[in-house]
């Protein structure tokens, strides 16, 4: 590939964030949006079966994952959530 093409492609590529140092023992804050009828019911069943999951995962029940709106995800990130998990 010639240099000129390479440099325009580089310019077009979105800037990539430098990876941050992960402090020792750091756990991400994960928010799960789960559909009432499937994923949330599965999580409920897991509870009944006394299966445990990490305390850094919080679940929000939605009537359907179709109810998920971009702004819910953005608000979660704004409030310091590190990862959003959608299950439905």
């Amino acid at each position: 590939m010639n240099k000129a093409v390479e440099s325009t492609e580089e310019a077009k590529a979105p800037s990539i964030e430098k990876p941050h140092e992960t402090p020792e023992g750091w756990e991400p804050n994960i928010l799960a949006f789960a559909c009432h009828y499937c994923a949330f019911a599965a999580a409920d069943l897991a509870g009944v079966m006394r299966l445990s999951y990490s305390p850094n995962v919080k679940i929000i029940r939605l009537p359907c994952t179709g109810k998920l709106d971009q702004i819910y995800v953005l608000r979660a990130f704004e409030k310091g959530i590190d990862g959003v998990f959608v299950a439905g």
């Binding site: 709106d69 971009q70 702004i71 953005l74 990130f77 704004e78």
Partner: protein, 223 residues
């Protein structure tokens, strides 16, 4: 309806980064339908800008609000007192809205968050197409209801040109040749004889801005 698309995020960020209190102000009519500048999009944009500001370590208060229209003062007047407390209004309305709000708000800048494009039809949800360019002197009765000003790449009044290519325009295979559409339509309407008539040069003065008009009856009533 008026169509538009949101500007690239970096361009918007560069507009707002030097202000301290910014309102992302949405318009819930045309630009909401094209998912560019309604209340929902204004809220999303405000959230993205807040995250960008925190990432850059810059303190800006960024809020959002929306009214039904920015192109008629009666819709934004009720929130005027509140929006005057900001030092920048980032409007997601079309250019008409940005102009009108600028004229009414006093010494607060109003910046555009979207690129206003054309007034268009919505043949299917999420799809917008330009069918009329608002030339001020309509000739659709001569062209089978298909506008050669908006839909022919050269706005030819007598077409097609030599570049017409099996129904497509020479500019792009994705553009239908407006004059082929006109021909087919005229054929259906049994009006092909009209195609032989030369359309004379239009009065383009009516297509030039700034344009305005007043409804005569209302003017009389006001008197």
């Amino acid at each position: 309806m008026i169509t538009g698309e949101q500007k690239p995020f970096e361009e918007i960020w560069n507009m707002v980064k030097d202000f301290k209190k910014v309102l992302v102000f949405g318009c819930n009519t045309c630009v909401a339908i094209c998912h560019a500048g309604g209340g929902k999009e204004a809220e999303i944009l405000a959230s993205l800008l807040r995250m960008k500001a925190s990432e850059e370590g810059i303190a800006i208060e960024i809020n959002h609000n929306a009214v039904e229209r920015h192109c008629e003062p009666e819709f934004f007047q009720p929130v005027m007192e509140d929006i005057r407390t900001y030092d920048l209004i980032l409007s997601t309305a079309c250019g008409v809205g940005v102009n009108l709000l600028s004229e009414n708000i006093g010494d607060i800048p109003v910046f555009p968050a979207i690129n206003t494009e054309f007034f268009g039809a919505v043949p299917r949800a999420g799809e917008f197409t330009e069918l009329c360019a608002g030339c001020g002197n309509c000739i659709l009765h001569l062209t089978g209801g298909i506008c050669p000003i908006a839909r022919c790449s050269k706005s030819l009044l007598n077409g097609p040109c030599g570049g017409t290519n099996n129904g497509s325009c020479e500019v792009s295979p994705d553009i239908k040749c407006a004059w082929v559409l006109i021909y087919d339509r005229m054929k259906k309407l049994n009006k092909l004889d009209l195609m032989k008539e030369i359309n004379e040069a239009k009065d383009w003065s009516k297509a030039q801005g700034p344009r305005n008009f007043k409804v005569k009856v209302l003017e009389e009533i006001k008197k």
